[in-house]
Symmetry: C2
Subunit: 924 residues, 2 copies
């Protein structure tokens, strides 16, 4: 809305100047005028006119985006005076090119291109060779030294493009029988080629092309009921109108919806003198990068084609040659480089690209054309790069003092950094492949492997060296070894908090869960999905970062965890960021990985995770005994048996963190989650408790809940069964005290989950104080260093944070649960409607992926403000999965948190995002 | 805490005056000094000293509550000067009574009693006959005209009381072998009576009593190691100390915890001249009420006993006589009234009680004693009354201009009003009975009946005229007829939102759900609970307002719905209240009931309730077809079939409300709730859809959710299946339009449930607008009057209320869900921990019964403030069950809501609570 207002004002204020000229070492505009001239127009002006550049850009002019806005606000009419301004600018081009528009002897041809504020590649229209008519054809033949083939080829291209873009699309004519004019003309051309036995377009000779142009014109008359215009000015204004029209074409509108580009922005139109790379062997065209976009190395890297047009390089019909030795590859190493073939032009180009990088302080993507031995610069823009290249360029440019540290940090997106941390499916291959199913992105990176349906098979196949993907309806703790052995995990059920998702995220393993369309038949060892059946041993590929499943083997791109620039880049980030970064880690191994990734502590140690995975059978069995105890006495007995395991587990993690803080959450999930389902396990448990299997089932039944997420869990367990909290707290204190006795540091932070009232916390605090005294006495020390705090994950806790802070030394926001309660969304059940919500734009995204700053964010802000009103130095962090999401991390920074905590594999991302958030501070 | 501060200040500022005298037509204190003198002391001072009263109160003095505070703050020492003040006051009593404390000839005896700011009946100690010693006994014999039996009986009572209260309890002596001194002395007395063959205490003659006193003293020496004191002053100070001590006795402390009385308040001590109603046939004692406490009628009502002490009237050993004709009952109609037996004293008493009621402007509960033909007034206080009496008194006193309307309204508690609306278990009987189980109070009132275990049995037994209580593990829609036939419903499972609870509340039927201790065996037609087995046909009784289950038949107290004063009282309430009162009603019958109870509209019409109950088979079947449809086409077919039913249902309710607003909520619960479980129903459905039963099960399985409360429900259904919203909205508009055509008024308010984002509402609003246009066109009208709004029941909706209010004409707070999300409590699962929370004082009460003003209340306030910031006249109501809870209604009033909505049976309560809330405004 503000944009609209601004726009209207601008339209009135500055409509005087609607055409900006560039060329001949001068320009009316410059790079800073992207809003008015579009990205393309602004960059052309900069290249042409800036005193440090003044590159040989074919002269031209830009009709502003304001004209576009005017055009749509005034029933598709142009503002008064536009025609005159355009004609005047055209005169300037004529002067600089020493050619005249429509001149039979020495004609000027122009291109008409779109150019919006932000790049919308391929979404709008272009018309080339405008100005070519029956009258001007002879003049162009003369210019090209009698190259009639070139001229008639240009003419047939103009006819095809113009009839499609201007005469059909912009005129709003619906194609008959769903076949557009372009396809009809292509059909004519293919028939001619067939008739003559030609394979390539270039096989057509001059008479063929002349014949074709005539056929084209007749077909156009027949189909569209109008003549192809033979007046250069009619062609020009047709082209301009078509570009403005294409702003509201279907493709452009839907692209804007997806990218969030406002309709009011509009496009500029760039009219520029045509130059031709296909005028003979002294002509050429090419694209180049000022540094290697694949590796980031500081080398001039590019390709070119002799006697070709720009689109031929992109189209990939001919193999382009390397511009220099550095750009050679296996495919083109025998070809003549530009450096060798046209050394003076290469030198000129090389100097220009150096100048451009220095001027723009970033790697540039350049298009150039050589027309009859003369170099023209057609475009420059910031070059796209992959993750490793982005990191390397940032680090090296900073070292070269081309940019400062802040700029270096801002140059790498979190997604690019992530590429260094996980192998991923090759994005190019993914673009071409059709997925067979979608699910939730539960574990990062990509994977490719053979399907197996049981944990046992996963283990056995993996032993023989096969890469497998474990496919299950749902996983459970008994599948853990198979999950570990597999490259990736795919489940048909379960949400982002399901067993598979939790385990995979903890390991940084690729995982897709809740792919509901999958019909898994573990017995038959097949799964079917939308009519496709996949059998054991078949290959599938997963994109765990997006939750997509592909059939077959997609190529992988391996990340470079040991990238030498990675550490240097992280150091830059760490210098800038203010937010601490911790990891969510549940085992000593996780803790080590977290340290390796630069975590400054553990923000969430989920004690219940010791009951999953290898070696968990005994602790799990004892936990189950505890859960199914009939009374406090039985429960205390089971807890005593469990104590040793819990203490050992906590001690190992505290030791791994060597004195860095470890936030240990007391037991959180509803107990029924651990109840055994398999008969043999029920039997063993029944025997051990001296009861029947039926008793087990009955006791389990009483634990059943309608909405376990809001049921008997977290601190609620610790209040009904204080002895459970006691055991865990004792394990924490004794583990820490033992380490202290061994001369090691340990800093446990005891965290109470799922609280909604300060009295829950004081209740648990009494237990903590009592057990602390007992443990301190046992180890003959005054004090076992520790902190005491709570999760803030229930809206009421956030609202009553001032009360909570009276007894808590720290808060840790559990934004998974806080999002659930704030939205009333069960994370395990959103599959039924949230995808639909996002598609219908009711929600901008899944609020479990990116923190909702409006409401969840307000509760966080309220909690911090009220908490710190009672305890100024209250430590505040986040341990929900938003802690690894860059946008959410930015929010946490601005909210004044002390740290974020995320999975070990997200720690580098978080360090980067925290640094980028700190940069925003300076901007504002 | 403020009390404490105030207290300390007071202690210092006014300790000069620690003793307040009353008697002889004067008093140092008055009724307004309850904080200082306690309730008893203040009332005694008022009766004795106020110029309008000056009643013959035995003279005495009050030691202030500040002394008590001082006593506890100073290591149980008295402030300086207290002894002197007490002695001085004692002298005044002596003068007025013309007797002297400790005098052998004409001794003064005194009572020492507690008296706190608020009555704590039976929680603290009393010592009577203080001053009776070996020395003064002869003097008392003389005063009583030689009645030695009277004197020695008084002496043995003093010894028993004093040894217990002063020598044991106040001294902090732990009873040996768990047997206190009082029981030991009683044992001695019983042995003596057994030995002599006496049945009653009064059988003992003077030698017996003398002997007993000696035995008592010896036992005291032996047990407590101290002599019973024979010094009157030692007795007096012992008594005073014992009363102060009893403030911190176990009983008193636990009573204060329950009633929320601060520990700092302390008790006063009242020392007063003893007068004796048991000095002969010219003596008597009695209690009376200035109006009939059972009916509220304006008649002087009381009982008395000749030659008896006050405690004898209460103890019920002898049948008391009526004070006048009016007070006669079946049991005592032959006895001599005070009016007849002592006409001059009756006349005096009658005048006093008139004076007291006029003075206090309320019905008074009076104690009096006649000692040797002389009337003494011992106590007066506001008399307790039952519900019907409270309403009648309020109405009549207002009519008599004894009180104004505001006072009248403030005189009736919501619980008293509720007594008029439901039959209840006799509270007296309930007090004595032991419950066999507890559950959740799901439906109001009480019930008593024979247990049946199936709906069929309930219907059949009821046909034969039996009163039955339907006991089920859980109920479901198929039980509906049995539920209707039964007096009450009892279930072992399910929460306050379970089927049984919803249905029973809607009907105002007594219901207890989730009595988890019950083991129901419907097959064997028994249930067992804690070792008791109850069989079909056995009687049980339920208190549905408290959730208690009793074995056997408890007597019922029938409410008086047609109480003639009820309407008059409601009118008083309606004059005062500002808050509107609506009802939650789901059927035309409910709507009629709601109107009858004074509802001004329907605040919540739950459309899904048409699928429960009689005649619901067809609609339910069609709903199920819709739910299990495989695609939009199938779904639209089923919806079309359903349309007629839905329209008819809505139309009937709109018609019943005759133009009063009816808030119709679009379908709310998760669809899987309606999926059929019974094989024959699954079969019928499968046949109708042309699929297999297995298909039905599979489709049902895909609807399964982990946490349905936060799943695919409410507006989320309307967004994924817009055709569902369409059908309901069309039914609403066509129902209203048809009524309009018939010349009837209809005002539907379309309400979107479970929203968390304004875009959900705009999405649904588009549907509403479109269907409105279509319906208006169909009925050829411009406009079908309606409002459009949303439930606010998700925290995010409250926080974003400013956005919601842009498109909503009203908000209705769904505080059931809002409480669930704000606390993270699933209402169906709180049974596992909330009772424990309340018991451990972590929560003051179940937040689903009384609205949590701290956090849920803040969200409500935020929502109203932000909502009205965008739409000043936004209509705001509440439709959660808190809408029927008086404390919560008070909150709603102060929050500025327009109305509350509750079950029809709670409407009168809500009208009263709203009026009382409005009264609070004037106070503040």
């Amino acid at each position: 809305m503000p944009t609209m207002t601004l726009k209207k004002k601008n339209v009135k204020a500055s409509l005087k100047k609607s055409v900006y000229f560039f060329g001949g070492g001068k320009a009316d505009g410059n790079e800073s005028m992207k809003n008015l001239l579009g990205g393309k127009g602004a960059n052309l002006a900069e290249m042409a006119g800036h005193k440090n550049l003044r590159l040989p850009v074919p002269p031209g002019f830009t009709i502003t985006t304001e004209v576009c806005a005017y055009y749509y606000q005034n029933g598709k009419k142009y503002p008064a005076g536009l025609k005159e301004h355009v004609l005047a600018a055209l005169k300037k081009i004529e002067a600089l090119m020493d050619r005249r528009f429509g001149d039979p002897e020495n004609p000027l041809l122009v291109s008409v291109r779109s150019g919006a504020r932000r790049s919308m590649p391929g979404m709008m229209e272009t018309v080339l060779n405008v100005g070519l008519t029956q009258t001007t054809i002879p003049g162009l033949v003369k210019q090209s030294n009698g190259n009639e083939r070139f001229v008639y080829d240009a003419y047939r291209r103009l006819i095809m493009m113009y009839s499609d873009v201007v005469m059909e699309k912009a005129a709003g004519i619906e194609p008959k029988e769903d076949m557009g004019i372009r396809r009809r003309l292509e059909h004519l051309m293919n028939e001619l080629k067939k008739e003559k036995g030609y394979k390539q377009d270039t096989d057509m000779n001059v008479p063929d092309l002349k014949n074709l142009c005539a056929l084209f014109k007749a077909k156009i008359k027949e189909t569209l009921g109008k003549e192809f215009p033979d007046d250069p000015h009619e062609q020009l204004w047709g082209g301009i109108g078509a570009v403005f029209s294409s702003w509201n074409g279907k493709r452009a509108i839907s692209y804007r919806r997806i990218e969030g580009i406002p309709d009011e922005w509009g496009t500029a139109v760039n009219v520029q003198a045509m130059v031709f790379g296909n005028m003979g062997d002294d002509s050429a065209t090419g694209v180049a990068f000022t540094r290697n976009p694949g590796t980031g190395e500081n080398g001039f890297y590019g390709e070119y084609l002799i006697n070709a047009q720009g689109e031929d390089v992109v189209a990939g019909i001919r193999t382009p040659a390397p511009v220099n030795e550095y750009s050679k590859s296996e495919h083109n190493k025998e070809m003549v480089t530009l450096e060798k073939g046209m050394p003076h032009l290469y030198k000129e180009l090389y100097n220009y690209q150096r100048r451009l990088e220095k001027h723009y302080h970033d790697m540039q993507d350049i298009e150039f054309t050589i027309e009859k031995d003369r170099l023209f610069m057609l475009q420059c823009r910031v070059g796209k790069r992959n993750g490793p290249a982005a990191v390397r360029m940032a680090v090296e440019m900073c070292r070269e003092r081309l940019i400062d540290a802040k700029t270096a940090v801002s140059r790498v997106t979190p997604a690019q950094l992530d590429e260094l941390l996980h192998p991923i499916l090759d994005p190019a291959a993914e673009k071409k492949a059709a997925h067979i199913a979608k699910g939730l992105p539960a574990g990062p990176g990509g994977a490719c492997g053979q399907v197996v349906f049981t944990a046992e098979d996963a283990v056995n196949w993996a032993k023989t060296g096969k890469k497998v993907i474990l496919v299950r309806e749902e996983t459970n703790p008994e599948d853990i070894e198979g999950m570990r052995a597999a490259q990736a995990i795919l489940t048909a059920r379960g949400g982002m908090t399901s067993h598979a998702a939790l385990v995979a995220r903890g390991w940084g393993k690729c995982c897709v869960v809740g792919a509901g369309a999958l019909d898994v038949n573990a017995h038959a060892k097949t799964f079917s999905v939308n009519g496709t059946t996949v059998r054991e041993g078949d290959f599938i590929s997963l994109n765990g970062s997006k939750g997509v499943v592909y059939q077959g083997r997609l190529p992988m791109v391996v990340g470079s965890e040991d990238n030498p620039n990675f550490a240097a880049f992280m150091k830059l980030c760490d210098q800038l960021r203010k937010l601490g970064v911790r990891a969510n880690a549940d085992t000593p191994d996780d803790a080590k990985k977290a340290l390796q990734f630069g975590a400054e502590g553990i923000g969430l140690f989920r004690t219940e995770h010791m009951f999953y995975g290898k070696g968990a059978e005994e602790p799990l069995f004892k936990l189950r005994k505890m859960i199914l105890s009939a009374d406090e006495k039985e429960r205390r007995t089971a807890l005593n048996e469990l104590f040793t395991h819990v203490k050992a587990d906590i001690k190992a993690t505290l030791e791994a963190m060597a004195g860095k803080p470890v936030t240990i959450r007391l037991i959180d999930p509803p107990l029924h989650e651990f109840v055994p389902r398999r008969p043999e396990e029920q039997k063993r448990l029944a025997d051990s408790l001296g009861i029947t299997v039926q008793d087990i089932e009955e006791r389990a039944q009483t634990l059943h809940e309608s909405n376990p997420m809001m049921g008997h869990r977290g601190v609620r367990l610790g209040i009904t069964y204080p002895e459970v909290s006691e055991m865990w707290v004792r394990a924490i204190f004794e583990a820490a005290a033992e380490l202290n006795k061994e001369g090691k540091k340990a800093l446990p932070e005891i965290m109470i989950p799922v609280t909604c009232d300060v009295k829950e916390i004081t209740h648990q605090q009494e237990i903590v104080k009592r057990i602390h005294s007992e443990a301190a006495a046992k180890f003959s020390v005054k004090q076992i260093p520790h902190l005491f705090g709570t999760m803030i994950e229930i809206p009421r806790a956030a609202l009553l944070a001032h009360e909570m802070a009276e007894v808590c030394e720290f808060f840790s926001y559990g934004t998974n649960d806080l999002t659930q309660m704030t939205y009333g969304f069960s994370r395990d059940d959103i599959g039924a409607f949230v995808p639909d919500y996002v598609e219908k734009k009711i929600l901008p995204n899944d609020p479990f992926n990116t923190l909702d700053q409006k409401a969840v964010g307000e509760l966080i802000n309220i909690g911090i403000k009220r908490g710190r009103s009672k305890r100024a130095h209250l430590k505040v962090g986040i341990c929900g999965e938003h802690g690894g999401d860059p946008k959410s991390i930015s929010f946490c920074h601005h909210a004044g948190m002390n740290y974020v905590s995320c999975s070990p594999y997200r720690v580098p991302i978080a360090r980067l995002a925290a640094a980028q958030a700190a940069l925003e501070d300076r901007k504002n």
